[in-house]
């Protein structure tokens, strides 16, 4: 099919050979599972179980709060041994409320699972969205946005194209590649269900050309469905970015501060498509995910289907432990992933990879002065001028940075990767985005304070007026007029 060029991009070392040929293995039940209440974008889920309670596999243990939220289910049967604060899989190492589950080893399913929907194409779209919401499905490419909300985009927008993102442009990660090779039928079925719910007539599965077996498997799975096309994408990072994928496949450039849905396009990850297939066809909630465990620091890199809540420790042990001392443990890919504070944190719904990277792989070194080589400008897929942007941020000129496109940056990391002076450009941008958010909060707080003060003044004045009126009730009729 005809593809459209995207600007810039880089070709990092992919290291996909470390785990690409490893079939997905199922992790034996770990000793404990740690399920944080927030594994998604939006409001944290509300806990429904308490310490000492026994739960069954698939049982709802935390329900969603509000529209943008997701519930959580028990990945196996067992006992809730604690509901407590546990370090979250986040670089800050801050704790969050977590349900600690001790599996009983029986792995018994709950009897109250939602009924399978035998013919999803015969039920209203809302029923499907409801099912996806009830099963706790979030974007599994790493963004973790509640999928049901995205499925309802068809209500307010006219959606004509559903893009299934199988680009997997991050180095090391092979979980989506393996899913496409091993479960192509489930992905295609999930994609058809989503397209139906969205009212989209066209489905395009975008896969980078470095995954020929995945392309072949998906092509076979899609042969029966003429509305499905396969796009073999050029290998280029960040091809898997939602907006860039949309541009490459449809030729449409998403305007700043708009959604791809405004162009009639919705993008979902392949793992999300499979989860939706399972939720709709079998009533199965999202309780496991495939994680790539890789990097030169890992003895035997693997693709593992692990229960949500598995500690990183358990995954690494399953891969034979460390081969050499890793410099950092990364959650996600090396380009956009986050460093983990320790190995006790759990796998959550958005964990696509756990990478143990050695110092040689990271190739970090102290920064040199910028020599204005222009590499960052030429490779930026968003058309930014990172060198200048960083200079503005260094001088705390956030307004200037916004003019230069700070808020259009997708933090893909290409500029930092290419910089010969090893300047941590993305770090500057993240700092500036954080500072802007803080300013924004401060501004809102000021406005709220002002509103409260004004309301208070108004109330005091009203009370004073009432008191004044009350003090002279005995005045002679007509007295007020004279006064």
């Amino acid at each position: 099919m005809k593809l459209f060029p995207i600007r810039g991009g880089i070709h990092p070392d992919y290291h996909k050979e470390l785990s690409g040929e490893c079939a997905i293995e199922t992790l034996p039940l770990p000793a404990h599972l740690y399920l944080p209440v927030q594994q998604h974008i939006g409001a944290p889920a509300e806990i429904l179980v308490s310490e000492g309670e026994t739960v069954k596999k698939g049982q709802l243990i935390a329900r969603r709060q509000g529209q943008i939220s997701a519930p959580h289910h028990a990945p196996t049967s067992g006992t809730v041994i604690a509901v407590t604060e546990v370090p979250a899989p986040h670089p800050s190492g801050l704790s969050q409320l977590t349900i600690v589950l001790e599996p009983d080893g029986r792995d018994e399913w709950v009897t109250t699972l939602p009924e399978p929907i035998a013919d999803p194409f015969a039920v209203p779209a809302e029923v499907l969205a409801e099912r996806v919401a009830d099963c706790g499905i979030v974007g599994m490419g790493g963004a973790t946005f509640p999928s049901a909300v995205k499925l309802q985009l068809g209500i307010r927008h006219r959606i004509d194209t559903l893009l299934i993102n199988g680009a997997e442009c991050e180095p090391y990660l092979t979980c989506d590649d393996r899913l496409m090779r091993e479960h192509a039928d489930e992905i295609i079925d999930g994609a058809r269900i989503m397209a139906y719910a969205l009212g989209a007539g066209r489905i395009v599965v975008g896969i980078e050309e470095n995954k020929p077996q995945a392309i072949a498997a998906i092509t076979v799975a899609a042969t029966a469905f003429p509305q499905i096309e396969i796009a073999a994408l050029p290998v280029k990072y960040p091809m898997g970015s939602e907006r860039h994928l949309t541009l490459a496949i449809t030729g449409l450039e998403t305007p700043a501060r708009k959604l791809t849905a405004d162009l009639g396009v919705v993008v979902h990850n392949v793992a999300t498509a499979r989860a939706i297939h399972q939720a709709v066809r079998f009533g199965r909630p999202l309780i496991t995910r495939v994680v790539t465990v890789s990097g030169e620091g890992i003895r035997t890199p693997k693709n593992i289907e692990a229960p949500i809540g598995t500690q990183v420790n358990d995954l690494i042990a399953f891969c034979g432990g460390f081969a050499q001392r890793p410099e950092r443990i990364i959650q996600g890919g090396p380009m956009m992933g986050t460093p983990l504070p320790n190995l006790d944190v759990p796998v959550v719904k958005g964990t696509s990879g756990i990478l143990a990277l050695t110092a040689a792989e990271i190739n970090d070194r102290p920064s040199d002065p910028c020599i204005r080589c222009g590499s960052c400008v030429n490779i930026c897929a968003c058309g930014l001028t990172p060198v200048e942007l960083a200079a503005r941020i260094r001088h705390d000129d956030l307004e200037g940075a916004i003019t230069l496109g700070l808020l259009d940056c997708v933090s893909c990391g290409s500029c930092s990767w290419v910089c010969p002076s090893h300047i941590p450009l993305v770090h500057y941008f993240n700092y500036a985005k954080g500072a802007l958010a803080a300013q924004d909060r401060e501004q809102r707080k000021l406005e709220r304070t002002k509103t409260l003060v004004e309301a208070n003044t108004a109330r005091q004045e009203r009370l004073a007026a009432q008191r004044a009126a009350a003090r002279k009730p005995k005045a002679a009729p007509g007295g007020e007029v004279s006064a």
């Binding site: 700043a256 992933g337 792989e361 190739n363 001028t385």
Partner: protein, 368 residues
């Protein structure tokens, strides 16, 4: 930035293998064939001057760093001072006295680079600032080009005589020669048409050395270290392109503009204007196009900006060579364009994704 200092580092946790040091030394490597050929061509005095210039650049860089209280070893070995010295030495007359190299280094490093804040901060190309300052201050010394005296040949000066040339300022008689550009310029000022002087350049018996056509091609001719061998400079430039240190944008536009301007005006009036190919293959056009104008720090960052910059350098070089008092205009042209680099950068920023050129969000288009 206190917040950023305490927060954990952002990704990416992967990096390509390029470094500033590697970039600088790749450029040095690319310059090496032409340099070695020229050091051979001009013998011991040129080797002494070359060593003195680079040594002085390193020494002045070290002194500047110590005075500024900056880390010494890391910066000194980043290759930038060596490269500046190397490029400066390549633009000097090969038998110029030692103090030309030292003075050039003092102008290039402490004044043109460190005073602006060090690597990456200077507005003007340090080597070119030094060359131009020397040229306007010491026009005679800076235009004393000599005929080739290849090492180990009969008329090549020995080590002792070479020491006297470089360190004693004892220039032997009858060794200087005009460069083609200089000759044409002088002849034109005497009323000799360009076309005539061009054919005469190879035959003029009043000159001590007259290269034939073959010599012009191989670089066996008078000139600075970087001026003589266009072929070897071109090879170095192509190597830099292959290694992706530079792109085609600046070299092609500089040489292309020079060629087009020369050709057009030569067609209009061949008695006054030298032909395009002559412009491209004489002077330090190749060195300037591939190694000087492409200096990262002082040229625009975007490809579009580099094209504008290259055209400007080519145009100004032609104008200066043709109408101004100096036969060679590359250094002046580069400095002039350096001064507009920030403005070019400002007006050639790429369009932001999802926005118009003016920065407004794009209008919503849907699929046909």
């Amino acid at each position: 930035m206190s917040q950023a200092a305490t927060a954990t580092i952002s990704g990416p946790f992967a990096h390509n293998t390029n470094t500033v040091q590697r970039t600088m030394f790749t450029v040095v490597l690319a310059l090496s064939p032409a340099t070695l050929f020229n050091l051979y061509l001009f013998g011991w005095p040129s080797i002494f001057l070359f060593a003195v210039t680079i040594g002085a650049c390193l020494a002045t860089e070290a002194i500047s760093l110590v005075l500024a209280g900056r880390p010494l070893w890391r910066t000194l070995t980043d290759g930038s001072a060596i490269l500046t010295g190397w490029l400066l030495a390549m633009t000097l007359p090969p038998w110029a006295p030692w103090w030309i190299g030292v003075l050039g280094a003092v102008i290039a490093i402490p004044l043109a680079k460190q005073a602006f804040g060090g690597l990456g901060q200077n507005l003007f190309n340090p080597a070119m600032v030094a060359r131009v300052a020397l040229l306007v201050s010491f026009p005679v010394v800076m235009t004393a080009w000599i005929a080739p005296h290849p090492l180990f040949s009969d008329h090549s000066p020995g080590v002792q005589q070479s020491i006297a040339i470089t360190f004693g300022g004892e220039m032997p008689d009858g060794v200087t020669a005009a460069t083609a550009l200089g000759y044409v310029k002088t002849e034109l000022s005497r009323g000799v048409p360009v076309a005539e002087s061009l054919t005469e350049y190879g035959r003029d018996t009043t000159l001590t050395y007259t290269p034939d056509l073959m010599d012009l091609a191989t670089g066996y001719k008078p000139g600075s270290l970087g001026e003589t061998s266009a072929v070897l400079i071109l090879l170095g430039g192509l190597y830099l392109m292959r290694r992706r240190i530079i792109t085609w944008h600046i070299p092609v536009t500089v040489l292309g503009t020079l060629f087009v301007m020369g050709t057009i005006f030569n067609l209009v009036d061949s008695s006054r204007f030298a032909p395009g190919l002559f412009h491209v293959f004489s002077g330090a056009a190749f060195l300037g196009a591939f190694f000087i104008a492409t200096d990262y720090v002082t040229s625009p960052v975007s490809e579009k900006g580099q094209i504008i910059f290259g055209i400007g350098v080519g145009l100004l070089t032609w104008v200066i060579r043709t109408f101004a008092g100096y036969p060679e205009g590359m250094a002046f042209a580069v400095l002039l364009m350096n001064s507009v680099t920030p403005i070019i950068d400002q007006y050639t920023r790429p369009r932001l994704f999802g926005r118009t050129r003016k920065g407004e969000p794009l209008p919503i288009k849907v699929q046909p």
